[in-house]
């Protein structure tokens, strides 16, 4: 078996470009999916049943179907249904955002519900407005509780960016697979791809563990 690693060293900038897009995609998705998740969580807690029902159906659907299929679906259906024409990157971003918003909304809902109602009553009995109760009593307690789950969701998102390679977005997986096809150095390229993901993903996984531990201790 002869390994020829020159294909990696020669194409280093391309691989870095792919990795950069991976990171960009993940960051943009989470930036949109955090408010998106909050919005969905809020919709699920409104008193109007049809709104609640729709939001719940939305969340359940995006959580129970494969992301790769959602990517394809958004890619083909979005232009037909809404007249919006996005770039491939935009489409991938849209699909991932919808998906992660659904997961985030569950996280936010669970976090808010875990605060004892007595805490709200205590704030109200001091004469606080509902808004003050949210700001001073509920949110400061809810945020540390949702942080570990959000961190885990981020790590999943980071890995799911690989799935948008199927609609030719030039993140790391797409770049890697193209390189493999062109260079025929299958083992070297695929291993390098895996290693690059590992370099990015391993510290993130450790960071998530640390967050989980820190929050537990602080409780």
């Amino acid at each position: 078996m002869r390994f020829d690693w020159s294909v990696i060293t020669d194409n280093w900038p391309l691989l870095l470009y792919g990795a950069g897009n991976t990171i960009l995609l993940a960051v943009c998705t989470m930036a949109l999916a955090l408010p998106g998740g909050l919005l969905l969580a809020a919709l699920r807690m409104t008193p109007w049943a049809p709104v609640r029902g729709f939001a719940t159906a939305f969340v359940e659907f995006f959580r129970t179907t494969p992301v790769i299929l959602q990517v394809y679906w958004v890619f083909y259906v979005l232009p037909v249904m809404t007249d919006i024409r996005l770039s491939a990157f935009g489409t991938g971003l849209a699909a991932l955002t919808l998906n992660v918003s659904a997961f985030n909304s569950e996280t936010f809902r669970a976090g808010l519900n875990s605060i004892r109602p007595g805490q709200r009553n205590a704030g109200l009995s001091l004469g606080m407005s509902g808004w003050q109760v949210l700001r001073l009593v509920v949110l400061p307690q809810a945020v540390p509780r949702v942080l570990p789950a959000l961190a885990s969701t981020w790590v999943s998102l980071f890995k799911d960016t690989s799935l948008v390679s199927v609609i030719a977005i030039e993140e790391l997986s797409y770049v890697g697979l193209q390189l493999r096809a062109q260079s025929f150095r299958v083992l070297e390229v695929l291993t390098a791809m895996a290693v690059l993901y590992w370099i990015m993903g391993y510290p993130q996984a450790k960071l998530v563990d640390w967050i989980h531990r820190r929050i537990k201790v602080a409780e």
């Binding site: 129970t64 179907t65 299929l69 679906w73 083909y76 083992l187 391993y202």
Partner: protein, 225 residues
């Protein structure tokens, strides 16, 4: 340019047998991956709790690496790169089971570890005080309780595996996702086909999730201390 109202269900009606074959493959792939992942995962989880330091460290590395690398990359590597290192060739399906299974095993091992660690140390002490060996205590006292506590987390891993099986389409495993892509390629009706397949996945996963919920609610008191 507007909403193309013509919904044409004929690609679904004409090819339902083909798609059904895809569903069967999806289920088989999921089942075998879950089996492999569970067996390996339970072993790794127990080993990480009770085995010697060097072994535990190697296993920790394996688990954390599986958490860091996307499943798509693992599947592609397993199918294209692994056969280059061994004298064996591999069918896409086999690569799918191996890749998804070993990836799942890492997460199963985390669940097992968490379950074992969640049991009060007093339980182990009580077992040892009765004269049991460590192995007996683990087998008779700790593991049964831990297994019950793990049911919800394990259940969600089952659902995730069914969803992840769709990624195997990338290495041409003839599961549902792949078959639907073929149909779309032939009939140019992605809206109908993909929407339908979304619903099928939903119908596959949702009852599993609810069923696991029910089972856990019945058994939960047995695992609580």
């Amino acid at each position: 340019m507007g909403w193309d109202m013509s919904v044409d269900l004929s690609p679904l009606l004409n090819n339902w047998r083909f798609l059904l074959g895809g569903v069967e493959t999806t289920l088989l792939l999921s089942l075998l991956s879950i089996a492999l992942g569970t067996v390996v995962g339970v072993g790794v989880g127990i080993a990480r709790c009770y085995a010697a330091r060097p072994v535990a460290a190697i296993l920790a590395f394996y688990v954390d690496s599986m958490r860091a690398i996307p499943l798509l990359v693992i599947l592609v590597w397993t199918f294209f790169a692994l056969p280059l290192l061994t004298p064996y060739s591999m069918t896409p399906f086999a690569a799918g089971v191996l890749g998804i299974g070993l990836h799942l095993a890492a997460f199963v091992s985390e669940v097992v570890r968490a379950g074992l660690l969640s049991i009060r140390p007093g339980q182990m002490q009580a077992a040892l005080a009765m004269g049991m060996s460590r192995a007996q205590a683990i087998r008779l006292i700790l593991l049964p309780q831990a297994l019950i506590r793990m049911i919800p987390a394990f259940g969600s891993l089952v659902v995730i595996t069914i969803k992840d099986s769709a990624i195997a389409s990338v290495i041409a495993v003839p599961e549902l996702m792949r078959q639907s892509q073929i149909i779309v390629g032939k009939t140019y009706r992605p809206l109908e086909v993909f929407s339908f397949v979304l619903i099928v996945y939903f119908l596959l996963c949702w009852p599993v999730a609810r069923g696991i919920d029910r089972i856990y609610r019945r058994l939960a008191p047995l695992g609580a201390t």
